[in-house]
Symmetry: none
Subunit: 245 residues, 2 copies
Amino acid sequence: MAIPRILVVDDDPDMRQMMTQFLRQNGSIALPAANETEVRSHIDGGRVDLVLLDVMLGDENGLEICKRLRREQDVPIIMVSALSADHQRMEGYAVGADDYIAKPFNPNLLLARVKAVLSRARRSASLVHRRNTKTFHFDGWTYDAKTGDVLSPVKVQVALSHRETALLQVLLANPHIPLTREEIATNLDATGEGQSPSEATGRAIDVLVGRLRNKIEANPKEPQILKTERGVGYVFAVDIAVSDT
Amino acid sequence: MAIPRILVVDDDPDMRQMMTQFLRQNGSIALPAANETEVRSHIDGGRVDLVLLDVMLGDENGLEICKRLRREQDVPIIMVSALSADHQRMEGYAVGADDYIAKPFNPNLLLARVKAVLSRARRSASLVHRRNTKTFHFDGWTYDAKTGDVLSPVKVQVALSHRETALLQVLLANPHIPLTREEIATNLDATGEGQSPSEATGRAIDVLVGRLRNKIEANPKEPQILKTERGVGYVFAVDIAVSDT
DNA sequence: TAGTTATGTAACAGAATGCAACAAAATCTA
DNA sequence: TAGATTTTGTTGCATTCTGTTACATAACTA
């Protein structure tokens, strides 16, 4: 599908900011909205693929908005709430939400849910569910994005940890582009394969890079694939071929 | 989803007429039934997405029918009753109804409830339309939702315990979606009987997952089907094909 | 060259997960 | 119904994963 357009509805500016930024970093178009009026103007104004709706909207009631939206439009809705009590969740479903997530949420979880709801919506529209079946080839190596398997040039399976896999994915998505540690960290948390409860601090990325090098570099001391850009960060420095299987 | 097929069960012809007409005007296929015999013939004869069940059915007892339906089929049920007393409502839930509405009801309210229950059923383990006798195929394996049989890639029967089967069902209903332990536990309890007696505590889900892995993973140490999402929970990580038999 | 800054990495610690062993509960059987 | 068997949750320990820290080394600057 085209780039998903996600409406972020929250009356707290900070939260709105945080969520829109996060979604944008992960390839979505995020549309912020603080109240029902802004929601309507967005929905009436253009395509919206998904609504992330806070339950508590100051004086307005997210549940009510959800109910109304559902009655009029057929846009998928994920309710977001600080209250994780089960009855809240139930209420969310009862008014027609497609999913429910409690604040504070794990960014991975949010992204996974967004993906899931979008793909579900897409599937019901097209009936055909094509998964991500790309395979990446670089410098003799193979990475199967579907299974997550990594094969060395001599066709030996190499086991990467979740975090290492996530790093590899980020790099594969940005070949020849030097990435700062911060960029890597942000995208790591987003990839959905790797987890980290909170933002990575300190030298975590350096260490992670080192670990990945130990697994995929012939000579980790002289990296050919994952090179250092002194003063900047790291680059994936070889060409990539992508095959659709 | 396709047009919902709703079974309207009421012994009063006027009320039946009114409800079926109303539902049809609102885009559903309404199937009238006056007693348990007619209910059975409809359910056995074709797909039914929701049952609107009157509590008072002349000499029969709606609650009993509800209980039986719940035990055999996994079709969503909304109880309808002229008695709005609280104990009645409670009884409705206790026998496994998904919702409860009191007569006389606001037609829009009925519609909202119907939609809510349908969408909830769609998203959660709605895979269990036993009557439809679906069979799931994944990674060489076969799971027959009707008989509960599980066949390995080499066509050997594998015996799963009730709990393991329930887990498999929850996973099959949510492929590629990382589920938290809490979500799994909730859905597990829901799949069995209408109640959720006690939240599974501790590491029960972990252990259960391990047990299922031992039965359906070629190499339980390196799960290909039921993968761990560190910090989140577990995912059913392979594609599923569903055949109607 | 000496000093400064950036990077590599081993060692450590805390957390998450896997799992065997046990116990309690449910189910079956004679 | 008593006893055997199966199922299922709990617990404790082992293992794996991942970020932090400390120090060594490399690169850069003046």
